[in-house]
């Protein structure tokens, strides 16, 4: 099979070549991208006494190449991946090499057909979403068939079947589902600033069950309804989804249906932006097989509804979605003070306020009589009738950002953060029934501030600085960090940074984490090298986080596309 595909590709490449010789016909295009990351690790007994982040290989390298061929309505692609072995902190399941991703797709007569691998999303993803985040080592591509049919303008149906990628294999479960979406304006062929878009989706998983103890359902389904109402400056979106009972390794094999609600409302007019959001996820993690770790075989996506922080220190306390249930809200206000006003100054000022929180659901963690362990009544996971807001707080995040232009060549961004962070649940993965005991609870209270300046020294030359401070009495204590980045557009940058964990409770670990990095860009190719000591941290994309251990060494990245 692989050989056939390759031969096909080679053929396409040759056809493409002919077009360059210019007989005037369109033979399509081939494009691709390439990325490789390599790291040489140095032993650092101070930050890593047990050598967890010091691999036997000393040097680890991983990379991939995508090739996509397009001609009119036809498209085909492959991705070659290579892990020798995967970098520390990324899933070890990615090992070796191969072509785990290949697809062909064409559109004709309102029908869009994909065979092979594909990524797809229904609504906000509560019911179904497959995607990739290479930085997290997450790739949940489907391998199967997908049809998208434009029944008529404004009415689209999707149907799919397949199995899901898990590293270099596919999962045990068969996934099938469909989605129907109606866009009222397009349906009536009417242009208007008021619109209603409604959708319904369903997904189902089949996996054989041969469990000696449990009578496990072989078919598990999840279905959702959504509506998006847009009226001028207002935009309201809401989705509800239901999942039939799905005993699995994440929810500790309980028999209970799942519910999910995700709703946002926003208002944007002139200089003002306002967003409110609500989430309620109850037993709603869905994998295409019963047993899985981390992000393996996830077929849905629960939007975290918490801001994603990107400055290094605040990002150490990033929010991580809790797979067995949580509820919370978010509110955000942004405003632009016009130039020439008191707060706007000469150039105008941007203000952004953001608040979000998350709580566990209300469960009863009464311990079983006669057991001194923390086990709840078997099979219930502590559920009572309806699980409202519980008393375990997962997080609270309040932050303010002010962006302003100080003079013609100087811009400043100032931000303040206040976090309440449940380290036990969010980082250590301690289960709720244990966290419900205050003795096991590790709460972290954080105040942090960042000042960033961008100074345009002369044409093409600029200096960017970040000064960060993060104060806390808990966890690893307080930090300070300074970053200087000098760039010469459009090719070069060099940066030095030092994060200093000066408040660590253990005086021996009050250490500096200096990093020097340099980058060179030529056209669409970018080289970057870093050398230094990286603190243990949490790396998150889209609410999925991965703990990256502290490490020391040389790393290199090349990315390129054509």
């Amino acid at each position: 099979m692989k050989r056939i595909l390759l031969a096909l590709f080679l053929g396409l490449g040759l056809i493409g070549q002919t077009s360059a010789q210019g007989d005037g016909k369109d033979y399509g295009q081939i494009h691709g991208n390439f990325q490789t990351n390599a790291q040489y690790y140095l032993r650092d007994t101070l930050i890593d006494p047990n050598g967890n982040a010091f691999p036997d290989e000393r040097l680890l390298a991983a990379g991939f190449l995508n090739l996509v061929y397009t001609k009119g309505n036809f498209m085909a692609g492959i991705r070659y991946e290579n892990y020798q072995n995967n970098l520390i902190g990324l899933p070890e399941g990615f090992k070796g090499e191969g072509i785990p991703y290949r697809f062909a797709r064409y559109k004709k007569d309102g029908l869009d057909i994909t065979v092979g691998n594909y990524y797809e999303q229904f609504g906000s993803g509560l019911v179904f979403r497959t995607y990739e985040e290479r930085g997290l080592g997450l790739d949940n591509a489907m391998d199967g068939l997908r049809l998208i049919f434009d029944i008529r303008p404004g009415l689209t149906a999707k149907a799919l079947v397949g199995r899901q990628r898990i590293y270099f294999q596919t999962g045990d479960g068969i996934v099938r589902g469909g989605d129907l979406e109606l866009n009222l304006n397009e349906f009536r062929d009417k242009a208007s600033s008021t619109n209603l878009i409604v959708g319904a989706s369903m997904i189902s998983r089949f996996q054989e069950a041969q469990d000696p103890i449990y009578n496990l359902p072989e078919n598990v389904a999840s279905a959702g309804l959504r509506a998006n109402f847009i009226a001028g400056d207002f935009n309201i979106f809401a989705e509800y989804a239901y999942k039939s009972q799905d005993p699995n390794s994440t929810n500790r094999f309980i028999y209970k249906p799942g519910h999910a609600i995700y709703a946002t409302g926003s208002y944007a007019k002139g200089n003002l932006g306002l967003i409110l959001g609500y989430k309620y996820y109850d037993n709603f993690m869905f994998r295409s097989q019963r047993v899985g770790n981390f992000t393996e075989a996830m077929i849905n996506y629960l939007p975290p509804l918490a801001e994603l922080h990107t400055y290094a220190l605040p990002a150490l306390y990033s929010y991580n979605i809790q797979s067995n249930g949580e509820t919370g809200i978010q509110a955000e206000l942004s405003y632009k003070f016009d130039r020439g006003t008191l707060l706007g100054g000469k150039y105008g000022t941007l203000l952004n306020l953001n608040f979000s929180n998350a709580y566990a659901l209300n469960k009863d963690f009464t311990f079983r009589q006669g057991l001194d362990s923390s086990q709840t009544i078997s099979g219930t996971d502590g559920y009572q009738d309806w699980a409202g807001i519980g008393n375990i707080q997962y997080s609270q995040d309040f932050n303010v950002e002010v962006k302003t232009k100080i003079n013609k060549n100087l811009k400043g961004t100032f931000s303040y953060y206040n976090f309440v962070y449940n380290r036990s649940a969010l980082l250590d993965g301690v289960i709720d029934d244990l966290v419900s005991d205050p003795n096991n609870l590790d709460m972290v209270y954080v105040n942090a501030a960042v000042a960033e300046f961008l100074w345009k020294i002369k044409p093409k030359h600029s200096l960017r600085t970040e000064a960060q401070i993060m104060l806390t009495e808990q966890d690893r204590g307080s930090w300070a960090m300074l970053l200087l980045e000098y760039s010469i557009a459009p090719e070069w940058f060099v940066a030095v940074q030092d994060a200093y964990n000066y408040g660590h409770p253990d005086p021996d670990l009050r250490v500096h984490y200096p990093i020097i990095s340099m980058g060179y860009t030529r056209g669409t190719t970018k080289f970057q090298v870093n050398y230094g000591r990286q603190q243990e941290g949490v790396f998150c994309v889209g609410g999925i986080c991965r703990v990256v251990p502290a490490s020391n060494g040389f790393s290199m990245m090349i990315t390129s596309n054509f």
Partner: protein, 169 residues
């Protein structure tokens, strides 16, 4: 395995020679009112288009778009260029895109590429990633990353394009 690799590299070498007449593929994008728009149908009356991939959480992207926004009125007057900002925010943040762009005061055309289909079809690895399209919609230049001052270079390229010169880099 060796066969595989050689085939791949052969494919690569062959395709390096082609890049003259690339257009945006026909992939659906969503506008901020929820309507679907085909990327291949983006037009600007025969004037150049800049397509910039960004996200609300991507600081360099926002720096780039703000830097261009500072000069956008002049750019439009002098060159007729249009900037299309394609957000790859997922559903976590897609509801924030509209209020965000309003509060930044951006006057760009903004679209959502929620499950990153266009991003993948154009082989964008990391954002920010910027494409320059000529008046016929051909992709004539692209650039990955943002370094302050890159916008000056982009403007030079747009002017070059308007002067009918070829872009070779």
């Amino acid at each position: 395995m060796r066969n595989l690799l050689s085939t791949l590299s052969l494919g690569l070498i062959l395709s390096f020679s082609l890049s003259a007449q690339d257009k945006l593929p026909n992939i659906q994008l969503k506008d901020l009112s929820g309507n679907m728009i085909d990327a291949s149908s983006l037009k600007n009356d025969g004037k150049p288009i800049v397509v910039s991939f960004w996200a609300t959480w991507c600081k360099p992207c926002i720096r780039e778009l703000n830097a261009i926004n500072d000069q956008y009125i002049d750019w439009q007057e002098e060159t007729g260029v249009k900037l299309v900002a394609v957000s790859v925010d997922d559903s976590r943040n897609s509801s924030r895109v509209k209020p965000f762009t309003k509060s930044q005061g951006w006057e760009y055309e903004v679209y959502l590429d929620e499950n990153q289909e266009l991003k993948r079809a154009l082989n964008v690895n990391n954002i920010p990633h910027t494409f320059l399209l000529d008046g016929e919609g051909n992709i004539v230049w692209q650039h990955n990353g943002y370094i302050p001052g890159d916008e000056d270079h982009l403007l030079e390229l747009i002017e070059k394009l308007n002067a009918g010169l070829a872009i070779e880099e």
